[in-house]
């Protein structure tokens, strides 16, 4: 299970050394797929039928639906490269290393309290959250920021599954709905930004100061 979580984290980090937005989207889809595998493994261990439902939902939403939406947006707006991120690749990788160490420190009380055999993956899930946050603040394209947010979201969902075998179903469903709606709304804004500013570079969005 620790291995599966590491792979989820790694596929998040993969975004950092790529420059094409299409690769970002593929990395996110791959990460979500690994996340589904992790859920199915836990479901098989615990025999919790509810988790299969969650796995199916994640598969449908984050592996099929959302990557498709994003790919369509990306083709439509035509911008393919994240050319000048605020932080370059080597520095980004060093920072992710530091973030991973940090999450081990932060998560230590959580790991200590955990009783499930899956608890070894908790710091890795937290690291995925931090990496998502880092992608979000260090990349300039509106589309990469969405990917950063989704990776962060995956990290939190992974943490929930690893630590507690998932939150109650009603909350889970609400979260799915919110994420889907959130991505749809963000997609609308990406189109509008492209239309109005003729670029996805959010660095150009600087009319509002103080």
């Amino acid at each position: 299970m620790t291995l599966a979580s590491s792979l989820v984290l790694l596929s998040g980090i993969a975004v950092l050394w790529r420059h094409s937005l299409a690769a970002y989207i593929r990395a996110f889809a791959r990460q979500s797929f690994l996340f589904v595998v992790a859920i199915v493994l836990i479901a098989a261990q615990t025999g919790d039928a509810r988790l299969y439902v969650v796995a199916a939902l994640v598969l449908l939403m984050k592996v099929v639906l959302i990557p498709n939406i994003l790919q369509r947006v990306q083709r439509h707006v035509g911008a393919d490269l994240e050319i000048h991120p605020y932080v370059n690749t080597p520095a980004s990788l060093v920072i992710t290393g530091a973030l991973t160490l940090l999450s081990y420190a932060v998560a230590s009380p959580v790991t200590a309290l955990g009783s499930l055999p899956t608890r070894g993956g908790i710091p890795l899930a937290l690291a995925t959250v931090f990496v998502g946050l880092f992608i979000l603040v260090s990349r300039k394209s509106a589309l990469s920021q969405i990917i950063g947010f989704l990776i962060l979201e995956n990290g939190i969902a992974l943490l929930a599954v690893l630590a507690t075998s998932g939150v109650p179903l009603i909350v889970e469903l609400g979260v799915f709905l919110d994420v889907l709606l959130g991505v749809l709304v963000m997609q609308v804004f990406v189109y509008r930004i492209r239309e109005t500013f003729e670029t996805l570079d959010v660095d150009r969005l600087k009319e509002l100061r103080h």
Binding site: V110, G114, L152, T164, I170, V171, M186, R192, H210
Partner: protein, 485 residues
Amino acid sequence: MLLIALLACPLMAAALAAPRSLGRGAVERAGAALSGAAFLVSLVIAARVAGGGVVSIGPEEFLRADSLSAVLALIVTGTGFVALGFEAAAGAAAPDEEGGAPFRRYHALAELFLFTMLLAVTVNNVGVMWVAVEATTIITAFLVGLRRSRAALEASWKYILIGSVGIALAFLGTVLAYFNFVQRVGATPFALHWTVLSRVAGALDPDVTRLAFVFLLVGYGTKAGLAPMHTWLPDAHSEAPAPISAMMSGCLLPVALYAILRFKVVVDACVGAAFTDRMLILIAVLSVLVAALLLVRQANYKRMLAYSSVEHMGLMCLGSGLGPLGVTASLLHAVTHAAGKSMAFLLSGAVRERYGTSRIGSVRGLLRAMPWTGALFAASVLALLGLPPSGVFVSEMMLVRAGFRAGRPWITAAVLVLLVGIFIAVLGHLNRMLYGEPPEPLRAREHPRRLLPLVLNVAVLVVLGFGVPGPLMRLLGRAAEIVAP
């Protein structure tokens, strides 16, 4: 039943916006009437729970309102009533002027916005509360971007991104709280119910509880516009149509603070109040400081009002960390701020319509160009600055008293100095707008009839300015007992 009625009002109003057979005027009047009904229902609920009781419905109290929920429900429905009533009275308000966005969608979204806020304060399950708060982000992002200008687009993009990330961190905190519960107490379907969580809080693991609170404070603090996570707020609040700004400032911010207070109860029962108090005070002082610095050189009056919201949220946050009297003051402040700020934002919409700009420098002679609007706008801004006799003055004085009683004289004094600075700065901006020669030609005439719904705001500010009526004080006291026993 009361709770169902409360939640049904905005939902019905949203549904009424759909059929094409209903004209625009009818939709607006129905919306205003239904939000008035919701306000009456929350008054009934408040009367019911002021004695310490609880109104609830559903399995294991799925929907539940105690005195704390009742205070928030009053703020939400009251502000909603005034904002929608203002629009109905205006006849042709925001959307047409705001670039002709389809009116029906706008109205339905505004009603859904009210619904999600009411759900957030009346649902017992903290997970569902999170879903409701997250839904407010998605709904309001559309409302902020309604005007489709470059600035509005930038504001809504920042808003949805920062808001979503913040709220995702709050979810992480919620997950950690749930994990904590399951490890220490065992899995139950109701583990995320606030009543259940706070009952067993003593058994939770202290370290994980602290960690969860940090994430929750950062997460919901982002939505509450507290520094340093406030960066989206001035953009979103200044670019949204006036009635939406009024609701976002007046009630959405306190709803986010409400979520923090609910968790504070659980965390305090586990690790003692000192931990949460210290963090709340730290973030509060930072918020007031940031607001003061940015208010001094503010050139846009809608952004001025937005930064004033950061200041007032800071004050509420400060009160929340100052013991029982502080929490009472903080809730009273939420009421007076909602009354003053929603009035100021609604009037700023009328000013903008008349002058066609939100720049302070371009608005001259407001008192001569629009005598009613100008006078009321001045009154609301002065009230927000804490000038007596206004409700804000009373709640701020209570806050100061709480600060000294809680043994934090230095922090209280520092905040007072910042408030004086804000007073001088904003008074200067206001003066520049009120006097001088109005530029010609101006658009649109003033319609004093439009201002009628603001009677409620003025009444609240004036009455509370001369002392808090007994029943309200009892309700606030009960609510404070929940947060800081």
